[in-house]
């Protein structure tokens, strides 16, 4: 029985990578889920590019203050020590290398870590938002995405065909079936979802994956 991790579980696995005490920015969609998946004994400072550092997670229904939101327009919860700032200061943090980790969604990631996450065919008016700034400026860029398109086309590709967000920026990729690390020699397959073999993951991935004896099942 092959398991596909759901979005919550992919986000939970990605959130395991955050170092205690680090500052993390979460992109639109699946990445934003990470905010509510942090164990209580861990201390992560979430930054959102609309101008907040140190919120505690997404608000539950009934606690919706539309002047306390993340960059995905979702109401968030305050935490003690939280601070606000304007867009210019926010992007000084982002471009200046003050953000430890950013989690972004993606349409495509290339074997050299190029990221395409904002434009797609038929939607020329869709913008990049803060994605380019985050991909260039964060110390570590990790991606959460589904491994293939709905019609099973690879989204981890040799060369991105969708408009680029930034070149050579992605360091780790978390999908519904695998965890991968982008290395100078190519993409290393580190973990697979329950029921999957390395060969089966390879068949859904365009570039040749690096596979070592350390390959294991995804641990949450």
């Amino acid at each position: 029985m092959k398991t596909h991790l759901d979005e919550q579980t992919i986000a939970l696995r990605a959130a395991k990578e955050f170092e205690d005490g680090s500052t993390v920015n979460l992109g639109y969609g699946m990445p934003a889920l990470c905010a509510n998946l942090i164990a209580e004994d861990r201390s992560i400072f979430f930054q959102s590019e609309n101008g907040v550092l140190g919120y505690s997670g997404l608000a539950t229904d009934g606690q919706k203050d539309f002047e306390l939101i993340n960059a995905s327009d979702q109401p968030i919860m305050p935490a003690s020590g939280m601070c606000f700032f304007d867009s210019a200061a926010s992007f000084d943090m982002i471009r200046g290398g003050h953000i430890d980790t950013v989690v972004l969604g993606a349409y495509q990631v290339s074997e050299t870590g190029d990221l395409a996450n904002w434009g797609r065919p038929g939607r020329p008016a869709t913008g990049m938002g803060g994605g380019m700034d985050l991909a260039v400026g964060a110390r570590k860029v990790i991606v959460t995405m589904l491994h293939t398109t709905k019609d099973k086309k690879a989204r981890i590709v040799k060369k991105c065909t969708y408009p680029l967000t930034a070149r050579h920026c992605v360091s780790m990729i978390f999908t519904d079936i695998a965890v991968m690390k982008v290395t100078p020699r190519g993409i290393l397959l580190k973990e697979v979802a329950p029921g999957w073999t390395a060969e089966e993951i390879q068949a859904l991935t365009e570039p040749r994956l690096l596979i070592t004896g350390d390959l294991k099942e995804i641990e949450l």
Binding site: F85, S87, F91, A125
Partner: protein, 237 residues
């Protein structure tokens, strides 16, 4: 005696926005920091051929009901009414929304122009304009569609592109409180693009939840100094 900056209603405050004007509009996405009453006043006033500089292009009234059940007006109304010839911003349309927002529809029909700017570059271009600078070099956008036609420079071994300043005839912004001089404080994440835009326009018009007497705001927490504010309209929540 300081000049009186206080206007009694949004309609009066935006009355002289002229056809062909460049207008910055604060806020971030579809709510939180948007000067919604000034936007609606500009839509009613009807100025045309506007260049709008804003982070996001907004959605239609119908689409806002997906976020808030009762719906609300955002920047989308200016596109819906055909008042805009060009949009400069980072999120003209939202990938997570259907392609039916007024801006996206007009763009796809070839009826308006878009200049797509990464969000941090947008903030910094506005700050450059505000501070009288000629622009700045950034690594953001190198190797993407954003770098087309821009001057390149290698600085400390890294490739940068030149980004030029942005200024405007008018800025419409939202703050939480103003005093009668125009000193501003904001609330929560509704600060976003408002402070930089306040500094970058010839005439800055602010909509506030509450107007207070001079001296009531703690000078230590004022975010936008009054020198940047031309007009104030109080629209109580």
């Amino acid at each position: 005696m300081a000049i009186n900056k206080v206007f009694s209603c949004p309609d009066d405050a935006v009355a002289d926005i002229f056809d062909g004007a460049t207008v910055m509009i604060g806020g971030f996405g579809s709510f939180g920091g948007l000067p919604v009453n000034l936007i609606v006043a500009l839509a009613n006033q009807g100025a045309k051929n506007l260049t709008i500089i804003a982070n996001a292009g907004g959605v239609s009234f119908e689409l806002t009901k997906r976020i808030k059940p009762e719906g609300y007006q955002d920047i989308g109304i200016l596109f819906e009414k055909g008042q805009v010839k060009k949009f400069i911003g980072s999120m003209p349309a939202l990938g997570g929304m259907p392609p039916t927002a007024p801006l996206e529809r007009l763009y796809n029909e070839g009826k308006m122009l878009i200049e797509m700017v990464p969000q941090g570059t947008l903030a910094e271009r506005i700050r450059s304009g505000a501070g009288g600078l000629g622009g700045f070099y950034t690594t953001v956008g190198v190797g993407t569609v954003v770098d087309a036609g821009k001057e390149r420079k290698i600085i400390n071994g890294k490739e940068y592109i030149l980004e030029l300043p942005l200024t405007a005839d008018f800025a419409l912004i939202k703050a939480h409180k103003a005093d009668n001089l125009g000193n501003l404080v904001y609330r929560g994440t509704a600060r976003c693009f408002n402070p930089v835009m306040a500094m970058a326009a010839k005439i800055t018009i602010v909509e506030v939840d509450k107007l207070v007497e001079i001296g009531e705001l703690d000078p230590e927490v004022i975010v936008t100094p009054h020198i940047f504010v031309s007009r104030i309209v109080e629209v109580p929540l």
